[in-house]
Amino acid sequence: MKQSALNQTQRFSPITQTQILRNGGESPKAGAKKDLAPILSLTSLIDAFSIIVIYLLIGTQSGGMETDIPSRINLPTAEASSIIEEKTSIVRIEKGRYFIDEQQVSASQLGRKLYELKKASGKEDLPLLVQGDREMNYADLDPILKAGAEAGIQKLKFAVVPNK
């Protein structure tokens, strides 16, 4: 008689074997076996995994913007910070080099690039997220302020790590 793969699996699965406690230490061959209690339930394990996965998914979606920050940049900390709600263009300063949305831009080109960015977005009140290392000098930030003023960008958001 042919047996399906499912039946085979059901009969010989190690999970089925471990789910059965045998009465009084009897060996399986010694006589009729009696199930006492299930030890390992696959269903509860899958339940636990699903809960962990859902928890992780919810935990990572804080409603804020998701950004990648290079490990070599140590953002400053602040207590009175607010959550970044909308997706904004990012200007990163790395040792005197400037990156607009991961694209390197020279200091002299900043104003023109920001103007193009603002024009492409179509927003009159385009915000700009500035990421910089806390140890850098203010002189490194200055070209961004001047380029922003040149491009007509009023709203600047300085990325910080909330310290609460």
Partner: protein
């Protein structure tokens, strides 16, 4: 003899690997929620002619870590000037915070501040200054570019 085609899938090792992977991901993930300090920069000539300027606090961060505070347009003939000397660790944040609290209690309408750091001032200190001002309920903050 007919070869058995059916085979069983061993789920326990798969579950082991999955749990190890989840533990690994949990341990290695960096859970940092990013925040921001918002400023609104003045561009061009925003002031309407003849309009009265709101009371404003101008804070200059010097290279020697001292902070010069000056109050403008507060309705008095003279501008008030204060200087917070540097401490050994850098800017004396406690003294500065106390000074800001005092000024805010004397001038509740004070909601505007301009930060004027020198070129070699530390960016972290500029952000901390903005943070202190926001904590003192001075919400409209601007940063002054160099050479102005």
């Amino acid at each position: 003899m007919k070869k058995e085609l059916n085979f069983e899938i061993n789920i326990l090792p798969v579950l082991d690997i999955l749990s190890v992977m989840i533990c690994f991901l949990l341990l290695t993930a960096v859970w940092i929620q990013l925040g921001s300090l918002d400023v609104r920069q003045a561009i061009g000539d925003n002031s309407a002619s003849g309009a009265k300027n709101p009371p404003a606090l101008w804070a200059t961060i010097n290279t020697d870590n001292s902070v010069q505070i000056s109050l403008r347009d507060i309705g008095q003939k003279m501008n008030l000037e204060y200087r917070v000397a540097a401490s050994r660790q850098g800017i004396d944040w406690d003294a500065l915070n106390m000074r800001l609290q005092n000024l805010k209690s004397q001038l509740p309408d004070l909601k505007t501040a301009i930060i004027r750091p020198e070129a070699r001032a530390n960016y972290g200190d500029v952000i901390k200054m903005m943070d202190q001002l926001k904590q003192t309920q001075i919400s409209d903050i601007g940063l002054s570019p160099l050479g102005t």
